[in-house]
């Protein structure tokens, strides 16, 4: 578990604190950075080969070795998938992943490691807040989303195992403006 916050908890505010604590509870490591620090933060946790989805404005950029020009074949062999997340849910340490035409869903799913990049300002307190926000999008634009909490897991093989069909590890890069 890597946790490289430089700020003291008091400066982050209780909502972000709660979110980061809950990420910990669900075995999701995180780095808290400014947009300029995103490439290094991703570089530090992404194994090769890495594929990714370009980040929206304000969330920095991906390091060059993360290929955004992926195909089904490179997706299957990728060690790491890097994607943006729409927002976080503090009570559950959940990353809300959009399903986009450029493929956030497959890139966040097939590789053994998922790195999600999201804005520190984009954290809602609880599940009801999340569904309120999503409800309007779903009704207006027929959008979809995945609430992803921790790595994929199974207990079907006689003990709890992290890494079933989806990622075995998840890292959140939390970007402060």
């Amino acid at each position: 578990m890597t946790r490289t916050d430089t700020d003291s908890p008091g400066e982050r505010g209780p909502l972000l604190d709660r979110f980061l604590d809950r990420l910990d509870d669900f075995d999701v490591s995180h780095t808290l950075v400014t947009p300029a620090g995103v490439p290094d933060a991703v570089d530090a946790v992404a194994s090769d080969p890495a594929v990714g989805i370009g980040l929206p404005d304000g969330l920095g950029t991906l390091p060059e070795r993360v290929s955004t020009d992926w195909s089904p074949a490179t997706l299957r062999t990728a060690a790491t998938g890097v994607t943006p997340a729409s927002f976080g849910i503090a009570d559950y340490g959940s990353l809300v992943l959009p399903t986009t035409t450029d493929g956030v869903e497959p890139v966040s799913l097939f590789a053994e490691a998922h790195v999600a990049v999201l804005a520190a300002d984009d954290v809602v307190p609880g599940m009801a807040d999340a569904l309120t926000r999503l409800g309007d999008q779903f009704r207006a634009d027929a959008e979809s989303a995945i609430l992803a909490t921790g790595p994929s897991a199974t207990a079907d093989m006689g003990a709890l195992v992290k890494g079933a069909h989806g990622p075995k590890t998840v890292h959140a890069v939390v970007v402060r403006s």
């Binding site: 195909s71 089904p72 074949a73 997706l75 299957r76 559950y92 959940s94 399903t99 986009t100 035409t101 450029d102 493929g103 956030v104 869903e105 497959p106 799913l109 097939f110 599940m127 009801a128 999340a130 569904l131 309120t132 999503l134 409800g135 779903f138 009704r139 027929a142 959008e143 979809s144 989303a145 995945i146 609430l147 992803a148 909490t149 921790g150 790595p151 994929s152 897991a153 199974t154 207990a155 079907d156 093989m157 006689g158 003990a159 709890l160 195992v161 890494g163 079933a164 069909h165 989806g166 990622p167």
Partner: protein, 738 residues
């Protein structure tokens, strides 16, 4: 049931328990403990459950409108909705969809509804390769076994068993030992099958009418892959899965994982408004395609559900979100699992409602008796379904369709009940226990000698299915009512009560009744023990609702005038107290129920109230650090009143430790029944073990319920008694020779 059928059933249960019992109990008890821990973290668990319940009530009420709305929404977004009347109709539709895209392989994520439909078999008949991708479901598909649990289908299989299965079926190059090895092997194997699949079939935990969004609650990521990697998505769901809005999903997402496997939330909640925007993935050609190539079919299945909606007693079943809390919190399920406590598709307490609704009464009748009405699932259910009541109602309906009644003459004189002929003779016997007890006391001790004689026990076992290994209750010649009638009245009482003389206290365990009278009198309470009909608990637990209702009416006729005269009703037996508080609501008019339930108190609840209101605690025995092991009663715990016994004993200086099990396993008649004796003892041993540890084995054993006392007496070498017997000075010395 014939004697042979009882024997066969007992043997079947024994075999399953031997083969699967350890894995099932470890897993279910782990889930159950996880549930307690996880819901304790919620700010307001009860309010969240109420909210979830209200959403379901409303949705089922408005279901036809919501289905219309959902169809419009999904079709507007480019999907197709098919409302299937029954399994054959649904399967035919899915087969056609697969045929239309020339599908050769279908990958599936876990879906109970498709199990209900036997969809896999229907597709396989067309030559389609159907692959389950949930690891537990896949293990069962490879092993050709049925699920034993609605959430964790392979719960009955050990790691070693799965490893042997994989070795046998796949002859893998590497050796598979750990759970991680097995998971990695399954992931690789299934990934190959997923990437060249043509159609993805999922269930849906919820579907919102406003946006056409489905929620899939999963942890492995296989549902995500099933949808993303295939161009054609077929979601199959019962019509009851529809909720009005996206916002309505919030309480269910918060409750479902916690209630089921004790996880705050599962790894993935997929909220899909299909067709999803993700590009299509053609792994063979190594190309992605536009999302517009995606096709979506929502198959909504009736298969008996709309009729359940019209059924006042089965309707609640439709609120079920299939979380498995009722399985995991059930002491019997914890021992036997879904291969015994389950029907064609569903398992656990709520399965009776589902199977009766979608399969029929006969299927439900196969396992329905395993619900003993302990009620521990009621608080565990996130939508507050009265699961024991559904089991009772279905049992009543089964009775009415019952067997040939060829043994009826044997119990005729003992059964002045209101039931049809044909009801199982064993049920009729236990349902009329009050009559038996009256005769037993009247003819004691002769009745006890006779009942205990070996030839009698053999005959009882053969004809009535009363297991001969179980000690029978010994009837007292002098009933509690007789004893109390001769007692001098309390002078200038602080208050007056009627003490309800339940059948056991009146005829068998008169000591606890006498101790209750003495304890109350010591606190300045005048106690009347009325001549009153038995509560109706015994017939109700056999599914004899008409008889139970007649009992309830007569009890109310006797007790309500006393209540109107200002007397409180005090009840010693927790199962009767719970009956007054819970089931009488369904058996009596609202006014009469309110008056009786509102003025009835469990014995220690009442003693606690007296002490809180100024009664002198010194009138009761000083515990002086005496070490006590207490087992509270299942139904008492569901009502949350076990704390009064603990509080009073502790305040009086007793050193109290309390058991941590859902139920003792005796449950009235259940532990006497030949076919269930082994289950009952297995449940009871978990309780008994807690009172045999180094920390507890010197403690005096007390229990509130009659059944619990019988079970403990049968399993422990030291005696047990009702806790009130500790509180009165002239009771027999309980601190004696342990």
């Amino acid at each position: 049931m014939t004697p042979d059928a009882r024997t066969a059933k007992a043997e079947h249960i024994r075999r399953v328990m031997d083969a699967e019992g350890v894995a099932v109990s470890d897993n279910t008890q782990g889930f159950n403990e996880g549930r307690y821990e996880s819901v304790a973290d919620l700010e307001d668990y009860e309010a969240l459950k109420d909210e979830a319940r209200a959403i379901k009530e409303d949705a089922i009420e408005r279901l036809p409108d919501l289905l219309d709305r959902l169809r419009e929404t999904v079709e507007d977004e480019g999907g197709t909705v098919y409302l299937a009347d029954d399994a054959a109709d649904a399967n035919e539709y899915v087969r056609q969809v697969v045929a239309d895209v020339e599908g050769e392989r279908v990958v599936k994520s876990k879906s109970m509804t498709t199990e209900e439909l036997d969809l896999n078999e229907a597709l396989a008949a067309d030559g389609v390769d159907v692959v389950e991708t949930d690891l537990g479901e896949w293990v069962l598909q490879v092993a050709d076994e049925a699920p034993s649990h609605i959430v964790a289908p392979a719960i009955h299989k050990s790691r070693e068993g799965i490893a042997a299965l994989f070795e046998d079926q796949f002859d893998p190059e590497e050796s598979l030992e750990t759970a991680a090895d097995l998971t990695a092997f399954a992931r690789r194997t299934l990934a190959e099958r997923i990437v060249d699949a043509d159609v993805g079939v999922t269930g849906a935990n919820f579907v919102t009418a406003d946006s056409g969004t489905m929620a899939l609650v999963t942890s492995e990521g296989n549902a995500r892959k099933t949808v993303t990697a295939t161009d054609t998505h077929v979601a199959v769901a019962g019509v009851e899965k529809v909720v009005p809005t996206v916002e309505d999903l919030a309480p269910f997402i918060e409750l479902i994982g916690r209630s089921g496997t004790g996880q705050d939330i599962t790894s993935y909640i997929s909220l899909l408004t299909p067709p999803v925007e993700s590009p299509t993935l053609d792994f063979a050609a190594d190309e992605t395609g536009p999302a517009s190539d995606r096709e979506f079919h929502l198959v909504l299945v009736d298969n008996g559900r709309m009729a359940m909606r019209e059924d006042d007693d089965l309707r609640e079943t439709l609120y079920c979100i299939r979380c498995s809390a009722c399985s995991n919190s059930c002491a019997n399920f914890q021992q036997v699992g879904g291969h015994v406590f389950g029907g064609e598709t569903y398992s656990g307490g709520i399965a009776t409602g589902w199977e009766a609704g979608v399969e029929g009464r006969d299927t439900a009748g196969e396992f329905n008796d395993l619900c003993t009405g302990c009620s521990r699932c009621v608080n565990a259910c996130p939508v507050g379904i009265d699961i024991p009541w559904i089991n009772t109602v279905v049992r009543d309906r089964i009775n009415r369709g019952g067997d040939d009644g060829r043994f009826d003459s044997l119990v005729e004189g003992l059964t002045p009940d209101e039931e049809p002929t044909g009801i199982d003779i064993q049920k009729r016997l236990f349902g009329n226990f009050a009559t038996l007890a009256r005769l037993g006391s009247a003819t004691a001790p002769l009745s006890n000698w006779l009942a205990d004689a070996a030839p009698t026990r053999a005959l009882m076992e053969h004809v009535l299915g009363v297991d001969r290994r179980r000690a029978l209750p010994a009837f007292e010649r002098e009933t509690l009512q007789d004893w109390a009638a001769d007692r001098a009245p309390v002078v200038n009482p602080e208050r007056e009560v009627v003490l309800f003389p339940d059948v056991y206290t009146n005829h068998v365990r008169t000591d606890r009744g006498k101790a209750a009278v003495r304890a109350l009198e010591a606190l300045g309470v005048a106690v009347h023990v009325p001549d009153v009909r038995a509560s109706g608990r015994a017939p109700l637990s056999q599914g004899m609702i008409t008889t139970a209702r007649e009992h309830a009416e007569q009890v109310a006729d006797t007790l309500l005038p006393q209540v109107e005269a200002g007397r409180d009703v005090v009840v010693i037996e927790p199962s009767d107290h719970a009956l007054f508080q819970r089931e009488y609501e369904r058996l009596l008019d609202t006014d009469r129920y309110d008056a009786l339930a509102g003025n009835s108190y469990e014995l220690f609840e009442y003693i606690y109230g007296c002490l809180e209101n100024g009664a002198d605690p010194e009138a009761l025995v000083d515990g002086d650090g005496h070490r006590v092991a207490y087992h509270s009663h299942c139904q008492q715990r569901t009502l949350g009143i076990d704390r009064y016994t603990e509080a009073v004993l502790t305040d009086r200086g007793f050193d109290v430790t309390t058991s941590d099990v859902e139920c003792c396993g005796m449950a009235g008649s259940f532990g006497y029944k030949r076919e269930y004796y082994d289950v009952s003892v297995a449940v009871g041993e978990e309780l008994a073990d807690q009172f045999r540890t180094a920390e507890t084995d010197d403690r005096t054993v007390v229990a509130s319920g009659t059944s619990c006392l019988e079970q403990l007496d049968d399993l422990l070498s030291r005696p047990s008694r009702h806790p009130v017997e500790l509180l009165v000075p002239d009771a027999p010395d309980v601190r004696g020779s342990e």
